[in-house]
Symmetry: C2
Amino acid sequence: MAVIVQKYGGSSVSSPERIRTVARRVIEARKVGYDTVVVVSAIGGTTDELVKLAYQVTDSPSEREIDVLISTGEQVSVALLAMAVHSLGYEAISFTGSQTGIVTDSAHTRARIMKIEPEKIKNELSLGKIVIVAGFQGTTQDSEITTLGRGASDLTAIALGAVLKAEVVEIYTDVDGVYTADPKVAKDARKLPVISYDEMLEMASLGAQVMQSRAVEFAKKFNVPVHVRSSFSKDAGTLIREEAKSMEKIVVRGVTANKSEAKVSLLGVPDRPGIAALIFKRLADDDINIDMIVQNVSEVGKSDISFTIEGSDLKRTVAVAEKVAKDIGAREVSSDENIAKVSIVGLGMRSHSGIAAKMFSALAGENINIEMISTSEIKISCIIRKKLADKAVKALHAKFGLGKQRKARRKKKK
Amino acid sequence: MAVIVQKYGGSSVSSPERIRTVARRVIEARKVGYDTVVVVSAIGGTTDELVKLAYQVTDSPSEREIDVLISTGEQVSVALLAMAVHSLGYEAISFTGSQTGIVTDSAHTRARIMKIEPEKIKNELSLGKIVIVAGFQGTTQDSEITTLGRGASDLTAIALGAVLKAEVVEIYTDVDGVYTADPKVAKDARKLPVISYDEMLEMASLGAQVMQSRAVEFAKKFNVPVHVRSSFSKDAGTLIREEAKSMEKIVVRGVTANKSEAKVSLLGVPDRPGIAALIFKRLADDDINIDMIVQNVSEVGKSDISFTIEGSDLKRTVAVAEKVAKDIGAREVSSDENIAKVSIVGLGMRSHSGIAAKMFSALAGENINIEMISTSEIKISCIIRKKLADKAVKALHAKFGLGKQRKARRKKKK
């Protein structure tokens, strides 16, 4: 039988009534004839509460114990959802990360999936059961509990979709799809019926709060079709899939803003070959993900190196950067949390020139200063002051005519 | 090194401050030089809240999923306590039931320990770490999460004490030891410095809210010395140990009242051989624990069979009893929750006569009607109306002079 994987976020299971609603939706898929696997997040707010509790106990909780602590959130959700499915007369079984067979490395709080042993899931599916899996978690080979990083329930769903060769992975969330920009900021933002993995990847990593970028990467790698949709309506959402010939080659598909990053600068770095490699090696050793990097020569024989990271990594990053600065003889380390990254994304950029200039002029038109720039084949990002982010999004959304593309053919969901 | 096992109940870990207090106490044992294993319950009230949540989702949650759900309570506690120990500069590691190597049968919500594989614990102890174990839970051979029944964290501690050959298992609780009667009822109740397993067993199963009787049985079986004491004071509590020659042969050591049982009666049961066996076999098949049983002939060829059970099992029990009643042609099933069991306990009863008569006359003196009687070598129990329980305890405590035994030699704790 064809397999479907559905993933429900924390807000979809935040009350007994909502859990029953999810159960009904899950059963609908089963009734259609799908082998149904469901990935559930912790009840909304639970993970934050648990982390808060940890910090009430100690300033620097061990990451191993954080994982033991916060993995309980999803365990509660899967048990409750299984009960709700039972109460509607269908068979279901809940699995924790370890029972699911999701084997990870031992980087606690941000573990990576090494392999998935899906035999247990397949076995229960073959018995006609709905399998309900705790998102966001796994275990090491030594049975240590790990978590995959915040928001990684999406990743769990996609990874299971890949290994089970699912027809589609449905990501149920509190937004009903991917928009040309945040509708709260750009009032005329449109829902995109379809988007390519690459575009979604840029949108996800750039701060469209719809799906985790690691999950999209994984979906792209294994070519898993993903349907992002609302858990509160039956309307089709946005289908994320391989770039198809039939896809409209829209130059700019969307505008995003990410306000959760922070900037760290090493100032007065001796300008020697290999220095940058050394710095970023040390940061990588500490599992710190770097986003943008800018280097420029500040004085003779010295350069300044700035980079952006997730704001939640700032404390750790500054600690590492200060050690490195001392080791390499840099003058000082500074950091800045009041930044935002605004970006435009679109496959069409590959074959169009002048997009960057158009973006910079839109920002200039609003008197917004650009502090860092980063480009890829299908996106351009600028770091600006955080408080100007919404203004920038509105300006870019208008400049590229995203709200007015009513002529664009609306794809029907397959 | 000598091993000590400490067990802390839910009220001992009910706030970050209390968790730090427990951490300090745990570290004291480590400093003395013990290999220290700590068993922790869920934060007070957590298990009830989780069960309540389950019943908000469905009227009849599956027991497998209840176990997945409620086992998270202890998982939270162990992680937080491990963090608290770390923050005080000591090494600690938390273990869930499955990581601990506690293998159980598959009777969800009331599983029995089949074996303990302590290699992982021993390994961490040998590295100098304090090992913090989630009480109340285990896993089956197939890695299914199980729980051992309410209050079974005591059992976890004693079982680990047995397998690790602990010098002593300390049960930290919100009372400071075992008393001759409930001090809230009998104002002159005395703390017992020492008590035998058998006496404690009767006290525990009879409703002294200090320790679970399964845990005491286990302690007796493996001769594990148990020290029941307060988590809020440094005073010695009550030592539970093998009956020693030096123990005072007090005739009656304590008076207890259990108000949590219920009575079920099958009325008009055909008086045939094997009928009682059939009834209790069917109840046993459903894992219902029977306490007292009374049978009497009510009319020619018919008898009434009454028995007591834990009040929480009442609904299940009545359901089974009604099916059995139908199968064997009994007239009806009745149940009664307004009962209490008052008991007197003491090793000395073995060699003293007239104790029962003295008990019955004390109750008669207060106009308390006795509905069922059950005796063992070292205890006598009477079922009475629940509302008369406190009155009965006071009368018995006075009649046997328990509050006045100031002449009894107070043992010093070793």
